[in-house]
């Protein structure tokens, strides 16, 4: 009632206000947008993230000690997921490992994709020279095999968690850059970017507002696979003995350390392998089923 007395002008304007674009407002509807497989992925992902954040705290009282001398024990009531090559409880190891695998890989992936995309936007939005220089430099980096690079980095600077994140990120920046640049260059040639230029907009605005929103879709798809590769890189680094520091172990190292149990079908090697697979599949399911992604992709065509 108050509004009717306040201002006739406002009242007149009110009905003509465009209806708010509301699909995002309701979290439940947003979730439903994932579809069944996307939701499944989301649940698994959430599970691992929770495990990474709270798991060690939940388990700290029970399982940290090696205790038994029963190595490669099968699944039992005492050890839900069996024991590893030193008789340690696999459940505890997998849960603590989640912190490293999920954390390091996710961080490195975001860092790699973020840096790659930023550089690509810069290359596309600024002049030919920046583009050429950046492209050539990163091409050169791609030419060095990733494992060789990791080997050299770890040999030189030791293998701490920040070091691993940075190494993995550097290795995967050129790939992300390549994809983002090819997308961004196409967008940059479109008229709407030119319009922004004729308006006098700065490079930053063009990068972030005009180009970026139009390449996030494909970049997300790329991120999914990149994540898988970073998890694998960590695993293969641990194969070469360069991974996370003990007693912590990422899942890749757990697989590696317990590979001896494979012949007996031991849980200690299968469980971490399954953990890796479930995590990477979940990430890709979530990304592939992001609500509105399919629609957005069609829209850009």
């Amino acid at each position: 009632m108050e509004s009717s007395t306040s201002s006739p002008v406002l009242n007149a304007a009110a009905p003509t206000l465009p209806p708010a674009p509301a699909p995002r407002r309701n979290p439940l509807r947003w979730l439903a947008g994932f579809g069944p497989s996307g939701l499944l992925g989301l649940v698994v992902l959430l599970f691992w993230v929770l495990a990474a954040v709270f798991g060690p705290w939940l388990l700290s009282f029970s399982t940290a000690a090696t205790g038994t001398s029963n190595v490669f024990a099968p699944i039992s009531a005492a050890h839900w997921l069996g024991t590893d090559y030193l008789g340690r409880d696999m459940l505890a190891l997998v849960i603590t490992g989640a912190r490293y695998t999920v954390g390091v890989a996710l961080l490195a992936t975001l860092l790699a994709s973020g840096t790659g995309t930023t550089l690509a936007l810069l290359a596309a939005a600024s002049g030919r020279w920046t583009d050429a220089t950046l492209s050539r430099c990163l091409d050169t980096l791609t030419a060095i095999p990733s494992k060789m690079f990791a080997l050299i980095m770890v040999a030189g600077f030791g293998s701490s968690v920040p070091m691993l994140v940075v190494t993995a990120a550097i290795i995967y920046v050129p790939g992300a850059f390549r994809i983002a640049r090819s997308l961004a260059v196409n967008i940059n040639a479109l008229d709407y970017v030119t319009v922004a230029r004729t308006r006098g907009e700065g490079t930053l605005y063009i990068m972030l507002r005009e180009i970026l929103p139009n390449i996030v879709g494909p970049m997300l798809a790329d991120l999914g696979l990149r994540f898988v590769y970073i998890v694998l890189l960590l695993a293969s680094l641990s194969f070469l003995g360069l991974g996370i520091q003990p007693p912590a172990a990422d899942w890749g190292s757990l697989v590696r350390e317990n590979i001896g149990a494979l012949a007996m079908g031991g849980a200690s090697v299968i469980v971490p392998a399954l953990a890796i697979a479930s995590l990477t599949i979940a990430v890709n399911l979530v990304i592939d089923n992001l609500p509105g992604r399919a629609a957005r992709e069609r829209g850009t065509r």
């Binding site: 090696t66 001398s69 190595v71 030193l86 040999a155 003990p246 007693p247 590979i259 001896g260 149990a261």
Partner: protein
């Protein structure tokens, strides 16, 4: 079977060692690992050879004599020829020994060779060596792989010309080598096999799988965790060599927490040796007593009381030492089991309120960058041919590899004296004293003496342990034979 079969001649085997790299070498002075040693023993001989108790036996030298342990006379075996047909002469021996002293050779045995003052041909079949100080163990030293005898003037060793049981047919560093029977070998009846193909497989599970799939007849360095599998597969067996190899916790006495003797003692009491033996080595080890001479050695001092796992005592010493905060401990896969030992130590330490911060270093670069430089860290010592060599290299005050920088004048004097002592009983006592000193005072904790485990097909016969290391102290080639 209980009673020995007669060895059969003929057949071809494939053998896998644990390393393969482009640095594989046939130069005795440069040999540095299992595969190098094994290959060397196929194509070369030394003046002596070491038997199952590491006692030197005549080889290219028919006999060796000394009066004062300072001047040694070696009589060379007659009728020995190199693979290219040239007869063995004293000049070859002089060359082979003297080259280690030349810095340009960059020999790994230079330290050992430096005690030899001169090597001279003193007759058509006689070589005389004069030492700078008496050493009763010279024949033992000369029986090790670095002192293989090569042809005088050899500069390119890739041809692999020696006097050994097999002739080199192919040598591709890091890939494989192929040797065939030396028909003119001086030991009658030996070797038994026609041909050996020798490769290095770095990955343990690949090595074991290669064996179990029938692709290999003998593989070195099997992880205790694979033993059950090998034993459980019909047609395969394992071969255990208990030796003096150990991984040790090094606490430097000159810097860091190890400077406090109580810290060292506390740590030594923290080793749950039985548990380590069970979970880490799966019983393929013997419990050690913080001293380096292992039970297979004739100078092992069994009378030294075993130090127990005693958290209370450890706690007492550690509290007395007043160590606070996290103590960094450096370990590496380069030092066998050191990461696992460190992890168990970390847990027991936690129980007595000590925080250990395990730093695992990559294997490559470990020896040059971390070993000897870390305040608290792990080392690994391979079996040495004699107690003297071991103590001289690792415990003498001025020794380059004195891991804990432990200095004791009394120990050094005992060491020199025992080296010159030719009376075995007296010598034994001296060694016992030295072992006790190390057990008490050195900044070294030795939890276990490790065994080497090899896997083999049951058709392969003739294996017997030589505690220099696995694969019969790397000398399987001339001893094994194939059952038909």
């Amino acid at each position: 079977s209980a009673h020995a079969q007669a060895p059969r001649r003929g057949g071809r085997i494939r053998v896998a060692g644990a390393t393969a790299a482009a640095t594989d070498t046939l130069d005795p002075a440069k040999q540095s690992n299992q595969t190098d040693y094994s290959r060397g023993n196929m194509i070369y001989n030394s003046l002596t050879s070491l038997d199952g108790s590491l006692t030197p036996q005549p080889a290219l030298a028919e006999s060796f004599t000394t009066k004062d342990a300072k001047t040694w006379v070696f009589t060379l075996r007659k009728g020995v020829v190199f693979h290219d047909g040239k007869a063995l002469s004293p000049a070859d021996v002089v060359f082979s020994v003297m080259r280690h002293k030349d810095p340009a050779t960059a020999s790994k045995a230079k330290v050992l060779a430096d005690q030899i003052e001169s090597v001279k041909a003193t007759g058509p079949n006689e070589v005389t060596m004069v030492l700078s100080a008496p050493n009763a163990d010279l024949p033992v030293i000369l029986g090790t792989y670095h002192f293989h005898i090569v042809k005088e003037g050899t500069t390119d060793f890739n041809a692999g010309i020696g006097t050994g049981p097999y002739k080199l047919k192919e040598f591709k560093p890091g890939i494989r080598s192929l040797v065939v029977r030396n028909e003119a070998y001086w030991k009658p009846g030996k070797p038994y096999l026609d041909e050996i193909e020798f490769v290095g497989i770095g990955d343990e599970s690949a090595r074991v799988n290669a064996l179990l799939s029938g692709g290999m007849d003998l593989v070195g360095s099997v992880n205790p965790r694979s033993v059950e599998r090998v034993k459980g597969t019909p047609g395969f067996g394992i071969f255990v060599t208990q030796s003096g190899q150990y991984s040790d916790l090094v606490m430097r006495k000159d810097v860091g927490p190890g400077a406090n003797p109580d810290f060292v003692l506390g740590m030594k009491h923290l080793f749950d040796r039985e548990q380590m033996k069970k979970t880490i080595a799966l019983d393929y080890a013997v419990v050690a007593n913080d001293q380096p001479i292992d039970p297979t050695n004739r100078f092992h001092f069994a009378g030294l009381p075993q130090r127990p796992f005693d958290p209370e005592k450890a706690k007492f010493h550690l509290q007395k030492a007043g160590v606070t905060g996290k103590v960094p401990v450096v370990a590496s896969p380069a030092a066998l089991y050191s990461v696992e030992i460190a992890l168990m130590l970390q847990q027991t330490a936690q129980r007595v309120g000590l925080e250990l911060d395990i730093k695992r270093m990559p294997a490559d670069g470990y020896w040059s960058n971390h070993w000897l430089n870390s305040q608290v860290g792990f080392g690994n010592v391979n079996p040495r041919p004699s107690a003297d060599v071991l103590l001289t290299q690792f415990f003498q005050s001025g020794a380059a590899w004195n891991e804990s920088r432990w200095k004791s004048e009394k120990f050094d004097q005992l060491l020199l004296a025992s080296r010159a002592e030719t009376d075995l009983a007296k010598r034994k006592q001296m060694y016992a004293d030295m072992q006790t000193m190390i057990h008490q005072d050195a900044g070294i904790g030795i939890p276990l003496f490790l065994a080497s485990i090899d896997g083999h097909s049951s058709k392969l016969k003739g294996l017997s342990p030589i505690p220099l290391g696995g694969l019969m102290g790397y000398n399987f080639a001339e001893n094994v034979w194939l059952e038909s």
